[in-house]
């Protein structure tokens, strides 16, 4: 709670100020350059030329390292099988890998399954982690501390060990080969972290807003839904993104709980190119790019909010 009343200063152009002020308009986009910050930067920012070069050099190297592996995947995906491991950027440019992955596999089915599962997981996940986070942030109730601990401990589970009991559970209730089974499982992976973070995020929203809601005769649900949620957009963006990535990229459960190609998710389906015993790197790379592109798009959309949302969440946990 220490920084609860501290005004925040996240005024970089792309970033978003956490909504400490109860004005929803101030939340998205930002775009305002804080004067205090600008002044500070100018004053501190009297860097020598050498320091500036050093800064750029370091960042450039770091950025190259960050980008290279995905970039190399992309490059490789346009090479034919025989040239997979060549060093040149372009060698015998071909789209055959993509052609094969898209047209000769159940790509569209997998894609559809993934979208269905991921969208439902994300919507439910964001909603229930918000309500939980809000309850943890605003109410003091019996079971609150155990719940906080449970949320933390849940993340400590070695999932590799859980998979057989879960499989049996799913089988018992007929949830194998059903999207429901995967959705519920993904929720348990994503929600504990998200709820924890949303709690932290709601802690940064002044309680005075809740009070004004009550004065207007809103129920706690009404306050939460009409007043608080609109302010929580950065937090929701992180939560949504996290849930999305979790569900989108998950492989182990997807392949264990779903049999038959028509039931698989994208990651589960395309994973068949990249398993331990095949050497189809050319197809794998194309498949990987196809999985990564939607994730990157969602990421590009959410990343403006990630920073403020994640920080607020993490600060207050």
């Amino acid at each position: 709670m220490a920084t609860h009343t501290t005004p925040r200063n996240g005024h970089e152009p792309e970033g978003t100020a956490p909504p400490v002020r109860p004005t929803p308009e101030a939340v998205p986009g930002g775009g305002l350059v804080g004067t205090g910050r600008a002044r500070r930067v100018r004053r501190r920012g009297e860097r020598s030329r050498a320091a500036s070069i050093g800064l750029h050099a370091t960042l450039l190297v770091a950025a190259l390292i960050a980008v290279f592996p995905p970039f190399w995947l992309l490059v490789t995906s346009f090479k034919p099988k025989a040239d997979t491991f060549t060093r040149s950027l372009v060698s015998n440019f071909t789209l055959d890998n993509y052609d094969h992955v898209i047209n000769d596999t159940e790509f569209l089915t997998w894609f559809g399954n993934s979208v269905l599962i991921v969208v439902i997981t994300t919507v439910i996940g964001v909603f229930i982690s918000s309500t939980t986070g809000y309850a943890l942030s605003r109410f003091r109730f019996p079971g609150m501390r155990p719940l906080l601990w449970t949320l933390l401990i849940t993340q400590m589970f070695p999932m590799a060990v859980l998979i057989v009991p879960l499989y049996n559970l799913m089988a018992r209730y007929g949830l194998l080969n059903q999207p429901t089974g995967l959705i519920v499982t993904y929720l348990t992976i994503a929600v504990p972290f998200c709820a924890w973070m949303m709690k932290g995020f709601f802690d940064t929203v002044p309680v005075s807003i809740d009070e004004s809601g009550r004065v207007d005769g809103l129920t706690p649900f009404g306050t939460f839904w009409r007043l608080i949620m609109p302010l929580a957009r950065p937090g929701l963006a992180v939560t949504g993104f996290y849930t999305f990535v979790t569900a989108w990229a998950e492989v182990a459960y997807a392949t264990a709980f779903m049999t038959g190609e028509q039931n698989l998710t994208l990651a589960g389906g395309l994973q068949t190119f990249v398993n331990q015993h095949t050497q189809d790197w050319h197809l794998m790379t194309a498949a990987a790019v196809l999985i990564a592109v939607p994730a990157t798009l969602v990421f590009g959309y959410a990343q403006r909010h990630l920073q403020s949302g994640l920080t607020a969440g993490a600060t207050k946990s």
């Binding site: 792309e14 930067v41 960050a66 109410f139 079971g143 590799a160 331990q276």
Partner: protein, 344 residues
């Protein structure tokens, strides 16, 4: 968590003491006839909102995590394996025939060197990954927390690894690490340096898995710390500058305290995640060569799935031990934080 300002508190005090306080806040009436309220009923009335809001999460966790957990703990005290658990095959159900053996599995594991070897490496792996990731994240975040041309582009590039599904990235790294054909070695050889047996040499394999995990983990750290940095009021720096503090003093006295709260949380989370980072190890080296990169989780997985009949009791015992270690860590971590005055 000031109680005075929370809505529930207000509602409860405003409510008449006859067990139907919820009505005052517009909630549905407590069900049932107007009898003298039991304790439970009063509690229910008081905490109705909170409980309703957490109910879905509690339910999901209880079913999906709680049940396997309870069962896992139970199994770890038995000699259950694949051939003696209850199975339903067609119309026939084969009843369970395993026995309760008490703590025998735990004693066996703790007596075995494998566990201690794996634990040692798991600790090294976790500490190395988390500390390197944190330091890199901190360094980069400090660099990005300035105004200069192109920082948006840098930031985008630096957090890109987060957007790529982890298993895809791991395979990309496997491709780069390939000893004979991988790009890393062909770059080295191009400079006249001998190629490195990235995944085949026990020491290099350890370095390779750590490097990959750091690569995967930096964006999360970076973003969290960057956000924390930006929440430090600029005035503090200005005041410090006027007092003549140099850059290092400013970093030490303002920046670090300013991000400590966020740091504590992300370090805790990332420790937990790294400790259990199954996919990176499994997909990159399968624990090899010769088990040198096996962490506790991959070893537990191997026990559960590779030998036949699959040993459910032992792998459950490993799982429980892993969980215990992490819980102990979390508790002591929290104690340490409290001692430093952090409220958590």
């Amino acid at each position: 968590m000031a109680d005075a300002v929370n809505p529930r508190g207000t509602a409860a005090t405003a409510a008449p003491r006859d067990g139907r306080p919820a009505e005052a806040a517009g909630a549905p009436r407590a069900r049932g006839p107007r009898r003298a309220p039991g304790r439970l009923r009063r509690k229910l009335a008081d905490y109705w909102y909170a409980w309703a809001m957490i109910a879905p999460v509690v339910l999901v966790i209880a079913v999906i995590i709680g049940w396997p957990l309870v069962r896992g703990i139970y199994l770890s005290l038995t000699d259950a394996d694949e051939s003696n658990v209850e199975r339903t095959i067609g119309v026939n159900t084969i009843p369970a025939t395993y026995d309760f053996v008490g703590l025998e599995n735990y004693a066996d594991i703790l007596r075995d060197n494998t566990f201690w070897d794996r634990l040692g490496w798991t600790v090294v792996w976790t500490v190395a990954c988390v500390s390197i990731t944190f330091l890199i994240g901190l360094g980069l975040a400090n660099m990005l927390n300035r105004n200069f041309r192109g920082r948006a582009a840098y930031r985008m590039a630096l957090i890109l690894p987060w957007a790529i599904p982890a298993f895809v990235s791991v395979f990309a790294w496997r491709m780069l690490y390939n000893e004979r054909n991988g790009i890393l070695n062909s770059l080295l050889e191009g400079r006249g340096i001998d190629g490195i047996a990235w995944l085949s040499d026990p020491v290099w394999a350890k370095i390779a898995v750590i490097a990959t995990n750091v690569w995967l983990g930096v964006p999360f750290m970076l973003i969290a710390i960057l956000g924390a940095l930006q929440s430090i009021p600029g005035e503090q720096y200005e005041a410090a500058e006027m007092d003549g503090a140099n850059a290092w003093q400013r970093f030490w006295n303002i920046t670090l305290p300013g991000i400590s709260s966020v740091s504590m949380t992300v370090v805790l989370l990332s420790t937990i995640w790294t400790f259990n980072m199954f996919p990176v190890i499994y997909l990159l080296t399968r624990g090899g060569p010769a088990g040198s990169t096996d962490i506790l989780v991959t070893e537990a997985f191997r026990l559960a799935f590779v030998a036949s009949p699959r040993d459910f009791a032992n792998s459950a015992a490993w799982g429980v031990l892993i969980l215990l270690l992490l819980v102990l860590f979390a508790i002591s971590y929290r104690r340490a934080l409290r001692r430093q005055g952090e409220v958590w």
